[in-house]
Symmetry: D2
Amino acid sequence: MPDNVAEACVEFNHHLLTLRLRGTVRRMSTPDSTATPQDPRFESRVRDSFALQTVMATLGAALSRVAPGEVDIALPFRADLAQQHGFVHAGILATILDSACGYAAFTLMPADAAVLSIEFKINLLSPAAGERFIARGRVLRSGRTISVCQAYGFAISGGAEKLIATMQGTMMCVRDNPALRG
Amino acid sequence: MPDNVAEACVEFNHHLLTLRLRGTVRRMSTPDSTATPQDPRFESRVRDSFALQTVMATLGAALSRVAPGEVDIALPFRADLAQQHGFVHAGILATILDSACGYAAFTLMPADAAVLSIEFKINLLSPAAGERFIARGRVLRSGRTISVCQAYGFAISGGAEKLIATMQGTMMCVRDNPALRG
Amino acid sequence: MPDNVAEACVEFNHHLLTLRLRGTVRRMSTPDSTATPQDPRFESRVRDSFALQTVMATLGAALSRVAPGEVDIALPFRADLAQQHGFVHAGILATILDSACGYAAFTLMPADAAVLSIEFKINLLSPAAGERFIARGRVLRSGRTISVCQAYGFAISGGAEKLIATMQGTMMCVRDNPALRG
Amino acid sequence: MPDNVAEACVEFNHHLLTLRLRGTVRRMSTPDSTATPQDPRFESRVRDSFALQTVMATLGAALSRVAPGEVDIALPFRADLAQQHGFVHAGILATILDSACGYAAFTLMPADAAVLSIEFKINLLSPAAGERFIARGRVLRSGRTISVCQAYGFAISGGAEKLIATMQGTMMCVRDNPALRG
């Protein structure tokens, strides 16, 4: 990564947050960084839970990446998911960004945990026009009860990715409710 | 409305915001209250635009009320819109709350305007379990370019309504883009 | 409250949420409504904790009302709290709205609890110009761990109140950290 | 930046947004990237406007960096800015993060523009304990009217930086109001 294009950079995986400013790399621990997931079977837990989210099949969304503290979800464009101008509806984008946040947090939770969204906030930067869309969720802080995540939404057209939405959300780890698993 | 049940109350239609505290009614003008919509055909503009939102038919959502500064959208429960525990996905709720906000703002915009969501934030108060759901959007401030809205999401079961989600969002009035109408 | 001025109304004290639409009053229980605070000494707990918030004295802010699920904080205008145009800075408004949310939630928490802000979102509806400002915080949902609140910020000039800001935030009840009280 | 510590990275200056995943660098243009500020005197405009924010002197905050699309603000700890547990109040952190967002956006605005905050949302990741604090604001999208920014808040103790807060906000470029400059 040449210095002349990278003035500021935040790495926000769960290990390390780095802010690159004018070519100088500063490393800072995140508040509750965890070197390894508590549950080595985190990926299958995420895939099993995602398979239960019936809305994902209804929308045509699929898990495209599962890593500690990071989950990506892909959604091909469909004309029947549009708002009034023919772009994908902001709420549908929010659906995949929210799940990307939730499952990113879920990768770092204990094996018996369920994950719930407490809240999220999304900014729409550009209309959701493209062949397909990717939501990339990342954990900023993984706490015992509360996890804070970001997700970035990209539109892909002709091989180029464009940032079209950004989310900041709060996820909850639930362990004492036998009715909630995954 | 007996005083003993109503200690605090905010009326947030576009005419008037009232805060009732301990039985005393205080009336305050909203920052940009507008007595009447700029376009008397606001309802048909909303209904025409809603009909273009293909995602609404895909989800089974319908406009249930259009008034100046206020729009409600109803969504029957469907098992194929669920997250992993069988509740309606937070993003699907956000979809109808966002449209309720956007169209509430749209009722107060001029006839040639298009409406776009800049951002929204939603809190999930309780799992979205119920026979059907209603999103009630209301304008807090209607400005020339920026409108600020709230929406409240309710679950309906056996005739009882329960508040399950609340949204605060920012909508934009676009008038200079010929590609965007409605 | 005459019907012709009140088309939509939400009462959001902790007992009851009511939505008035076109003169019809619908009553709905809030998700976790609590008829009475768990701790009858809630008001003194709020006042003691507020007195420890040194920033409130620094800003000149004062508690003006404490009721179950509802707390108001007043702030006189001061020229040394301004942003570049001479209005009170949005972050200073956010400071009193956040504390109003936190203490509104705190009134419904058990006697040994501490309250922390997880997150908040504020919309600025109009510049903060006025003789003084009031933040009115209200609980929408009071849960065991998570409370969801709204706060409304008003500017007061010549006896008239104007809505200038609205907040939606998430507060946490902490009971297991001996270092945190109040 | 060694590959083994940097799995995911977003560069979010106004030139370029890059997401590094597992050592692969993907470059994506931001929606409205601008290679150079419209006004070459952007830094003095920011410094002049900041000097008018009287609240910054009241809090003891100072501009520590101004670059295209990026502004940092530093705040030494002061016991008279605390919440009830002795940490800096979330609203005071929000004050410097909001100004960092606003001035980051302002660097990319035309010479006659004024900047106003429409809204912001902040997550508090850890208590604001430390010797001093830095808010690093960055532009994600710079539009003609609307700019979307992020700010990250760090606590500094013994030379180590810790991420304690993250903000996502919307800023407005105002050009037609003679009463608002800067």
